[in-house]
């Protein structure tokens, strides 16, 4: 084998990730559905690894979901993103981290378009000035939150309290990694590992002790499709594509699905519930349970010993308990659905065919 040649080919898919001083842009979807994951992510990088990670409360949505639902012109998102860059400049940072994959794809595309069409960037400078009296310079580095988890995977592994190993069998947990389409399918060279063999989640899973499942529909879209999910009349598109993935991964008996996109996470979680309630079918290897679906931040935090309920894992529909038990995580079952200070919030209704605890 020509090792040098291989190295050269893969060098295109290595991603340089700076080691400190990050500016954070939150994800609309993650904030709604799994806000604990964002908090754990910041806490890990800031407090476990001692890095400077800044969040400016004045930042907003990038408008990515509206753009990909064809309701806004690209200039609108370009200018909103230029405003976020301006906030980053003002705070004295050069490394921009986004938590949403749609947003990461859009940032990447916009930076690429500006590179190839400086006249468009010049126009956005004018528009931002006209709207907000702000100026901006582009970031030196653009990262997705999963890039950061990949970058810090060996540090996470050093602090691992519950690695991705089945404590009953001593075997690595079987993990399906699902990468959001817009992470690397548009601009493979801006990701860790490219679009055909992305390493961003696989590298993290392996560093934490798990083994990655290769299955036929591994790279198939989760089925979000923007308008295909957001409009109720189209939602069968989303469900059908997720169903296709589950049918394809089922023979491999995964213990866990790890995602980097907050949208994919929601769909792979919630459509399991819909499949169970409409057809009776569940995909977990414990009868009556689904396959837990966690983000790269949630998996990292769990491995590092964060309490699952502080992390907000109760906000997933598919019960995570079978996974916690396999990992040997210590947790208090009775606190799952409690509020601050143990406040009684009742419990969610039990679905007919898929268990929630």
């Amino acid at each position: 084998m020509n090792y040098e040649g291989k190295k050269r080919i893969w060098s295109e898919f290595q991603k340089e990730i700076p080691d400190d001083r990050y500016f954070y842009a939150r994800s609309c979807i993650r904030q709604n559905f799994n806000p604990g994951a964002e908090q754990a992510f910041l806490d890990i990088v800031r407090n476990r690894f001692g890095k400077d990670f800044y969040e400016d409360p004045l930042h907003t949505t990038c408008g990515g979901i509206a753009y990909h639902s064809d309701t806004t012109p690209e200039e609108t998102s370009m200018t909103i993103i230029a405003r976020q860059f301006s906030l980053m400049n003002q705070a004295g940072y050069r490394n921009f981290v986004v938590s949403c994959v749609t947003s990461f794809g859009l940032h990447t595309e916009i930076l690429q378009t500006w590179e190839e069409h400086p006249e468009i960037e010049a126009k956005i400078h004018e528009l931002l000035w006209k709207a907000c009296k702000r100026e901006f310079t582009k970031p030196d580095f653009l990262m997705h939150s999963s890039d950061m988890m990949y970058h810090y995977r060996f540090l996470i592994s050093e602090q691992a309290r519950y690695p991705l190993i089945n404590v009953h069998t001593g075997e690595p947990l079987k993990v399906v990694e699902h990468i959001g389409c817009h992470y690397s399918k548009i601009f493979p060279s801006k990701s860790v590992g490219g679009a055909e063999y992305p390493r961003v989640l696989a590298g993290l899973v392996e560093a934490l002790g798990g083994s990655v499942v290769d299955y036929p529909e591994r790279r198939h879209c989760c089925g979000f499709g923007f308008r295909q999910y957001l409009v109720k009349a189209n939602r069968g598109y989303s469900l059908t594509n997720t169903y296709k993935k589950f049918e394809s991964m089922e023979p491999f008996h995964p213990d866990l699905i790890i995602t980097n996109c907050p949208g994919c996470n929601y769909f792979l979680d919630r459509w399991q519930y819909v499949i169970a309630e409409t057809s009776g079918k569940t995909y977990g290897d414990t009868p009556g349970y689904g396959i837990p679906v966690l983000s790269s931040e949630e998996v990292s935090a769990l491995v590092m010993g964060y309490d699952p309920w502080d992390l907000g894992l109760q906000m997933h529909q598919v019960a995570v308990e079978p996974l916690l038990d396999k990992m040997g995580v210590q947790y208090d079952k009775s606190r799952k659905y409690k509020g601050v200070g143990g406040k009684d919030l009742g419990i969610p209704a039990s679905p007919a065919n898929i268990r929630i605890f």
Binding site: R26, C28, R30, Q31, N32, P35, G36, E38, Q39, P57, L58, T60, T61, G63, A66, S69, D70, T71, T72, P73, E74, T76, T79, I80, R83, T113, E116, L128, K130, A131, C132, K185, I186, A195, E196, C221, F224, G225, F226, R227, Q228, L230, V231, K232, A233, G236, T240, W271, V274, D310, G312, Q314, M315, H316, G339, V340, K343, L345, P351, I356
Partner: protein, 231 residues
């Protein structure tokens, strides 16, 4: 070369995303929309490349261009580095600009999308927000989603979100000056004009169909009539 084709080609996404197609069908083979809907991205690329305005206008008035999920799976695999998904975005943009989107059932859904998503951005500073993402319209949110909705502040407080409050953190209240910035950005970049256009043309269509605005919203959001599925 037709005028509509010329206008389409002025879109930078089309300049970058359309070279001579070799009809290999790779895009269609990997396309999640092509399996579900009567949809074939290869044919879309072909029609655009005919440069035939009549054919392109038919496309702009059809359901077809609204079937794509903009996943961009086709972009990775096209041996000609074409981007059928980007061609679709350019076609949809033109369909709205020329007012053709109201001619198809799937195109009319732009009314619901623009109203909800741009409303969320301008009113809350988020694309998705708990005030408008409701279990009733999203039953797949599940029993856990219903429980979250019923105990919204308590659940968000429990997991460390900053729901509805000032300062940083998840779901923080976006400050009025930031919302004002977003509104001004919408105004100067054509965002507001696009939304207004979608709303005005939709109101006209609703009238034609004998529906009130609310009935029209419910119709486009909930109902499906045509033969869309690839069975």
């Amino acid at each position: 070369m037709g005028k509509i084709y010329e206008r389409l080609m002025s879109d930078v996404r089309l300049q970058e995303g359309l070279k001579a197609c070799i009809n290999c069908g790779t895009c269609t083979a990997v396309c999640p929309a092509a399996e579900f809907y009567r949809y074939n991205p290869k044919n879309i690329v072909n029609i655009v490349q005919t440069q035939d305005d009549d054919e392109i206008i038919k496309l702009l008035k059809s359901d077809t261009i609204w079937y794509c999920g903009e996943c961009m799976s086709c972009v990775t695999r096209c041996p000609r580095t074409n981007a059928p998904g980007q061609v679709i975005i350019a076609l949809r943009t033109l369909s709205v600009e020329l007012g053709y989107f109201v001619e198809s059932e799937k195109g009319r859904q732009q009314y619901a999308l623009a109203k909800v998503l741009c409303g969320n951005i301008l009113n809350y500073g988020y694309c998705v927000h708990p005030e408008t993402f409701k279990y009733a319209a999203h039953p797949e949110y599940g029993t856990v989603g219903k429980w979250i909705e019923d105990h919204l502040q308590d659940v968000y407080d429990r997991v460390g979100a900053n729901y509805g409050k000032s300062g940083p953190g998840p779901l923080r209240k976006i400050a009025p000056e930031s919302l004002e910035d977003l509104r001004k950005i919408f105004d100067v970049t054509g965002g507001s004009a696009r939304v207004e256009k979608i709303k005005a043309l939709s109101r006209k269509k609703a009238e034609e169909m004998g529906l009130s605005e609310e009935e029209y919203f419910n119709e486009v959001f909930n109902e499906t009539h045509g033969e869309h599925l690839n069975q």
